[in-house]
């Protein structure tokens, strides 16, 4: 059984006209694709497109309505036992027992898969090593950070050395550093010949897949290598960078309504058929308005361009409907909000002998979008809970909306909106009933409640679904509804804790449109996110790590602060080069970035030479190697690694005086 002697031509995963119908809705509609050994296939699409259902059908935990699926040659319908022995499935919901330790969870799954004896011991050791989870063997799973939980779940799934791995949004809500670790594990598995089928909301992850299927309304509307998908775009993409991309977008949408203009981080992407002419035209328009920009150039489309291009249109209807109907004017309370919305100093919170937040001080001027970044478990949520008056600080203090966070918590609660990571909505209530409930909590009634309800329904574009049960809404819609409910009482400040986690790219854009609408009306938005391109949308960022602030400033300032240079390398199978390149003395760090590598160095010239040589030795052609402006993700990772390096040094010095 162990020695797999299948020919290259036998697919490890096969879907043939796979369909699933729930009552009268078609969740998966005649989906067909093959995934070969050692290949990773990405399934990308909006929420509710049928990604999860497809994975469930293939893992034989859901019976297909029609069509066939096969895993490692076994039919998922008739040979479900065989299928289950060959595959590992990681559902979106936790498969871990939080009251069991890391090792107990692993042992449990090892027993379930019948992994015994020396094989078991070796496998566990190996998995602990390459996931860097060894130090946490005895820790309860519930006490792990989000990123570590996902890694543990992957270890549990890999314990029996499966041939096929089905991953349902495995990096959802996981910070960039942990995501990178996670992908390193995946690449290793691919080299060992495992086939992986993954769904993801991160399109940079999709770029790394060998092939990608774009799924919408249960149908695969396009499939192929990322390069092939990009060729589907007839349009050319023009990109320009500016610190005022939102403003430019607004203006261009006004004067050139036929052109698609989208914000990508700190850039604006324009879809056009004639790049030369458009470039001149737009440049002229912007110069005349005095809007500054840089790096105006044609770029190859990214998968996100394709995604937004192919799926964005589909939703245009609803998008414009809500935009064209002017929302009821949001008025901020009679009292003028203080100029500084949040002002905290030396904020500290300890749990037992663990310091979750350590001596944190910052100010947020009113009307700003303030981004709060950091890895899982860095102390973001704890800080937000203190600011919202839900948790009292151990030390230090401050004011939110002019009220003291230790003493005037009731006042604070009346003057802020808070949207937590977890869904705060009642799934068994309808959209309207949820709004009524939250309106009631905030003391709204009668015509005032009616007015606010209509406003909330328009804002979240859920007017047509007012009678629908909340449970049936997709994640993106739920989040918009949750936001609407959180601001029914028109607070001057709103706290959003990972509001877009697990939301598809198009819905995420819509959500950020809402955030901008609120900021335009003078509401202060305090937001945490793991999507680094979203960090670029913030006016100011604060990076927190191990409970301490390690950087603060506007996205531009943080990027300028980056002293090292970044080289972008595109070549065949870049993931195989990471370890080799890390050995080069000229190179400080190497990380996967989209379909390529980002190489951190202090000496671009020397590093370029060294990389060229290393790849030439292996006869690998370099598709491109060029210095680039660092992205937010580069900045994030390098800042965190700097802290880690300093800690290491500090520890060593302590160790041997």
């Amino acid at each position: 059984m162990k020695s797999s002697v299948e020919s290259e031509a036998t697919p490890a995963i096969r879907a043939e006209n796979l369909s699933k119908t729930f009552n009268d809705t078609i969740a998966v509609d005649k989906v067909s694709f093959d995934v070969y050994p050692g290949e990773i296939f990405g399934l990308v699409g909006p929420d509710g497109a049928g990604k999860t259902t497809t994975l469930r059908l293939l893992s034989s935990i859901l019976d297909p309505s029609s069509g066939k699926g096969a895993v490692a040659g076994f039919d998922v319908g008739s040979a479900s036992t065989k299928v289950k022995e060959q595959l590992a499935y990681m559902s979106q919901r936790f498969g871990l027992y939080l009251d069991l330790s890391v090792m107990e969870n692993i042992s449990f799954y090892a027993d379930l898969y019948g992994v015994t004896g020396s094989e078991r011991k070796e496998r566990i050791e190996e998995l602990l090593d390459f996931s860097n989870m060894r130090p946490f063997k005895k820790r309860r799973a519930g006490k792990l950070s989000g990123g570590m939980k996902q890694k543990l779940q992957l270890i549990c799934a890999l314990i029996h050395t499966p041939k096929v791995l089905l991953l349902d949004e495995p990096t959802n809500g996981v910070d960039p550093v942990s995501r990178r670790d996670f992908w390193k594990i995946l690449y290793r598995l691919l080299r060992e010949g495992v086939s992986i089928l993954v769904t993801t909301a991160y399109l940079d992850e999709a770029e790394r897949c060998d092939r990608v299927g774009l799924i919408n309304h249960g149908r695969i509307i396009a499939a192929g290598t990322p390069a092939e998908l990009k060729e589907l775009m007839d349009d050319h993409i023009l990109s320009l960078k500016s610190s005022r991309v939102r403003l430019i977008q607004h203006y261009l949408r006004e004067v050139m309504p036929d052109m698609r203009v989208n914000v990508f981080g700190d850039s604006l992407h324009l879809n056009c058929t004639d790049p030369k002419e458009t470039e001149q035209h737009v440049a002229m328009l912007l110069n005349r308005r005095g809007l500054t920009y840089s790096r105006f150039q044609e770029i190859p489309p990214s998968l996100e361009d394709v995604f937004v291009g192919l799926l964005g249109d589909d939703r245009k209807g609803t998008l414009q409907e809500s935009e064209s109907q002017p929302a009821v004017q949001l008025t901020i309370g009679k009292e003028q909000p203080p100029a500084t919305a949040v002002d905290v100093s030396h904020l500290t919170r300890r749990f037992g002998n663990f310091t979750a937040v350590n001596d944190v001080s910052f100010q947020v001027p009113a009307g700003q979008i303030f981004g709060f970044l950091g890895p899982n478990g860095a102390g973001k949520s704890t800080t937000i809970r203190m600011l919202c008056g839900l948790l009292s600080p151990s030390d230090g203090g401050g004011r939110v909306a002019g009220f003291d966070i230790s003493r005037q918590t009731e006042k604070i609660k009346q003057h802020i909106g808070y949207m937590s990571q977890k869904f705060s909505l009642y799934e068994d209530l309808t959209v309207e009933e949820n709004i009524d409930f939250y309106g009631g909590i905030y003391g709204l009634s009668g015509s005032r409640l009616q007015e606010k309800k209509e406003w909330a329904l328009h804002m979240s574009a859920l007017a047509h679904h007012r009678k629908s049960l909340t449970a049936i809404l997709s994640v993106g819609w739920k989040q918009r509804l949750a936001l609407a409910c959180a601001i029914l009482h028109e607070p001057p400040i709103i706290f959003l804790d990972e509001p877009t986690s697990g939301v598809d790219p198009v819905s995420r854009r819509r959500f950020w449109d809402l955030i901008y609408t609120m900021a335009d009306r003078g509401i202060t938005v305090f937001v945490t996110t793991h999507y680094m391109e979203e960090a670029e949308y913030c006016d100011r960022l604060c990076l927190i790590y191990r409970g301490e602030i390690i950087a603060m400033g506007s996205p531009e300032e943080l990027k300028d602060h980056q002293q090292e240079d970044i080289l972008d390398l595109r070549c065949y199978a870049p993931q195989n080069q990471v370890d080799k390149l890390l050995e080069l003395p000229e190179i400080r760090d190497v990380s996967l970035f989209g379909a390529g590598l980002h190489i951190v160095t202090t000496d671009t010239v020397a590093a370029t030479a060294a990389i060229t040589e290393t790849l030439a030795d292996q006869d690998i052609r370099i598709d491109s190697l060029q210095p680039i402006a660092p992205s937010m993700e580069d900045v994030f990772i390098s800042l965190i690694e700097e802290v880690d390096r300093n800690r290491e040094v500090g520890k060593k010095e302590e160790g041997d005086p």
Binding site: S59, I61, K84, L100, Y109, D111, L112, G114
Partner: protein
């Protein structure tokens, strides 16, 4: 069924129980409390009935009668008012349950051998006690009357006439007629059904609610491994509870075990299994922890309390209800327990009840398997 996977599930389930120490304490303390509560509170014996006496006679004869009451464990003379009003107030307020009124001519009529009337008033709002008390009063006055006539016959120098029928009453199995001896076995059944069904009713539902079930069903795990694996640790807890109940019964309530205690634990294991699989089936069907545990308490506790013959005699129930009792497993278990505890009988008589419990358990195991779908819907 692979032993290793069965063991993996059991071990994991055991860890859940140990980690959540509150539920463990609950599982061990609830039976303790239930046994003590029912053992003390639920007694059907008539003892120390508060009695008021208006003795209008105040004679040696009346005192002799009253001394019989005083000497009986069933009555306790609490007050001796000398008017009717006080008597009534005592009964109204519930201070007394029985009132005796001895007429002024009691002494002379007894002496002259004339029939005499004693008025006995009992509190009928507690029908059961009232009925029992009346019987005892009748018995005591009978004894008194018998003593008086014997005395008269002797004084006249004649041989007393021997009664034609001389009753020789012997109560088997529970010679003191202690109701606790009868109730404690029933309490064991009650405790077991409540604790067992409550414990297992959350286990499968919890996996669905936290989402771990989706992961479990994607592994080679079989239904029977999950069902039996989950039951094992709760079985251990359940048997501990039986031990606790038996020990308390023996030490605190002094209920002797006449029969074979090995057999007692054997049958308990069978009944416990049925109850555990019953809770498990509820958990599988309901898929919600709250719903399943509430249902298990309702569906386990009430029939056991009412329809098992624990307190209320099945023979006195209307016929349709009597039929219903046949599907209450505690009915058979209580028969078994009383058989072993009091009668000391063995498997040669109790095998029918044992068979019924076995069938019940098998049905529950079958239902649990039938209802547990290793597929999403």
């Amino acid at each position: 069924m692979k032993l290793r996977r069965l063991w993996a599930i059991s071990r994991k389930e055991g860890l859940h129980i140990i980690r959540d120490w509150r539920s463990l304490v609950l599982a061990l303390v609830i039976p303790l409390i239930l046994v003590l509560l029912y053992g003390y509170a639920l007694t059907l014996d008539l003892r120390d009935v508060p009695t008021m006496v208006w003795d209008q006679s105040r004679s040696a004869e009346s005192r002799e009668l009253l001394s019989l009451f005083q000497g009986s464990p069933y009555f306790s003379l609490i007050d001796f008012p000398d008017n009717y009003r006080d008597l009534q107030t005592g009964l109204d307020r519930g201070r007394a349950m029985v009132a005796l009124i001895i007429p002024a001519d009691f002494s002379s009529r007894v002496k002259n051998g004339k029939p005499v009337q004693i008025q006995v008033i009992t509190d009928g709002s507690d029908a059961n006690t009232s009925r029992l008390a009346t019987t005892y009063v009748t018995a005591i006055s009978g004894i008194y009357g018998h003593g008086v006539s014997l005395e008269k016959v002797r004084r006249n120098g004649r041989e007393p006439i021997k009664p034609v029928v001389d009753l020789v009453i012997r109560v088997w199995y529970n010679s003191d007629l202690r109701s606790q001896n009868v109730l404690i076995p029933g309490i064991i059944a009650l405790v077991m059904i409540v604790v067992a069904a409550m414990l297992t009713s959350v286990t499968v539902a919890r996996e669905w609610e936290t989402g771990t079930m989706e992961q479990l069903i994607s592994t080679p795990l079989h239904r029977s491994e999950l069902i039996f694996g989950k039951v094992i640790p709760y079985f251990v807890i359940g048997m501990t509870d039986v031990l606790i109940a038996v020990v308390i019964g023996k030490t605190i309530f002094h209920v002797p075990i006449v029969g074979n205690s090995g057999l007692l634990f054997g049958f308990s294991a069978l009944f416990l299994s049925g109850a555990l699989f019953f809770g498990m089936t509820l958990s599988i069907v309901m898929k919600s922890q709250v719903l399943a545990s509430q249902t298990s308490i309702m569906a386990g506790f009430l029939p056991t309390l009412i329809l098992s013959g624990f307190v209320f005699a099945i023979e006195n129930m209307p016929l349709p209800l009597q039929f219903l009792t046949y599907i209450v497993p505690a009915r058979y278990f209580i028969t078994i327990l009383r058989g072993i505890y009091l009668k000391g009988i063995g498997i040669e008589i109790l095998w029918i009840e044992g068979l019924m419990l076995g069938i019940y358990t098998l049905i529950m195991v079958f239902l649990a398997h039938r209802k547990l779908k290793f597929k999403l819907e």
